[in-house]
Symmetry: C2
Amino acid sequence: MAKGKKNLDLSTEEKIMEAARKVFTEKGYAAARTRDIAEESGINLALLNYYFRSKEKLFELVMLEKVNKLFGTIIPILSDEKTELEEKLDKIAESYIDLLLVNPDLPIFVLSEIRRRPEKFAQLVNAKERVTQSVFMKQLMARKLNVSPFHILINLLGITVFPFVAKPVLSKLIGNEEQYDMLMKQRKELIPMWIKMMLV
Amino acid sequence: MAKGKKNLDLSTEEKIMEAARKVFTEKGYAAARTRDIAEESGINLALLNYYFRSKEKLFELVMLEKVNKLFGTIIPILSDEKTELEEKLDKIAESYIDLLLVNPDLPIFVLSEIRRRPEKFAQLVNAKERVTQSVFMKQLMARKLNVSPFHILINLLGITVFPFVAKPVLSKLIGNEEQYDMLMKQRKELIPMWIKMMLV
DNA sequence: GTCTATATTCCGATAGAC
DNA sequence: GTCTATCGGAATATAGAC
């Protein structure tokens, strides 16, 4: 897709999807209006329903994509048989921060919408076995820590993802977006170090 | 307030506020309906506008309370002149987790609404000087760390607050709510320990 | 102060022409 | 496939009786 340009080259369907990703992610399902999406994509409101039937159906497509993006980044790394624990930490921090620097409101969007309708979207994650039975968790247990491996996973996700969830507040605290982004980039190397300290 | 009982003893105004806290926090501003709030408080829809003029005005009152609750818990501790750095860590972890065990969706509610309308609500926090110039930050700087003190603050908030932001996902991962709560209680002692390890 | 009924605005969805 | 115009329902807010 051409950077910064209107998506004149995309199909109508893809233009609507692109706009829907933007509007839903920025405002959340309830505050997003189909009229916003139509305007953003440069097409007519009627076409949205022609292609996607309803706001709800369009949203489900976006939500599925976003959930896969958020969890699909980490689950393959957790499940990898070949890499050592320490290397997994490096990979998770780096790939997650790279993802979130480009998509800073991905986590709060997904987590908010899951909380709003857990019965519908929590199952979409379907991560229970894939996480609890993962190689990563087994590698943690092999270390004979005196705390549950869940604590380590929570800490890793916490120090990695939280700064993006709190970006609107932290960014002002730190100064501006440039300085915020610079700190986040530093954290790609720092996070694995901090987590490794918790493994002794 | 009587636990688990209908608030028959409260004034009408306070009954509406109580219901508004619940409905807004659970659903967010956009998905909350004034009819939900009226029903929840056992009064009539017209009375909501009689007392609070509009949905927006009522929401602003709730939002102000919630922001104060979330940031008012930590700012006094950060600013305390008497306590050592290590003791501050103990206090923050304990008081925050106690708060969040009772109000688990406080952080995601506040952070979502700030993100949805940063120009309106980010200023409500108004924490820039109170945090950056705080005793806590000065104590961190006195430690001559080789990373920015912001990293430590972010880590502290990340490992403390994030598990509550991700509660709907983590709770299923861990098992059930009881087990989730038990882990969170453990973290009151673990978090200060982990952060202290980052100070060397 | 509290209610019922209603006004008004907004929004998702569709009809129908091209 | 795409548009304009509009329907029908939902949600906020108000009028007016008690």
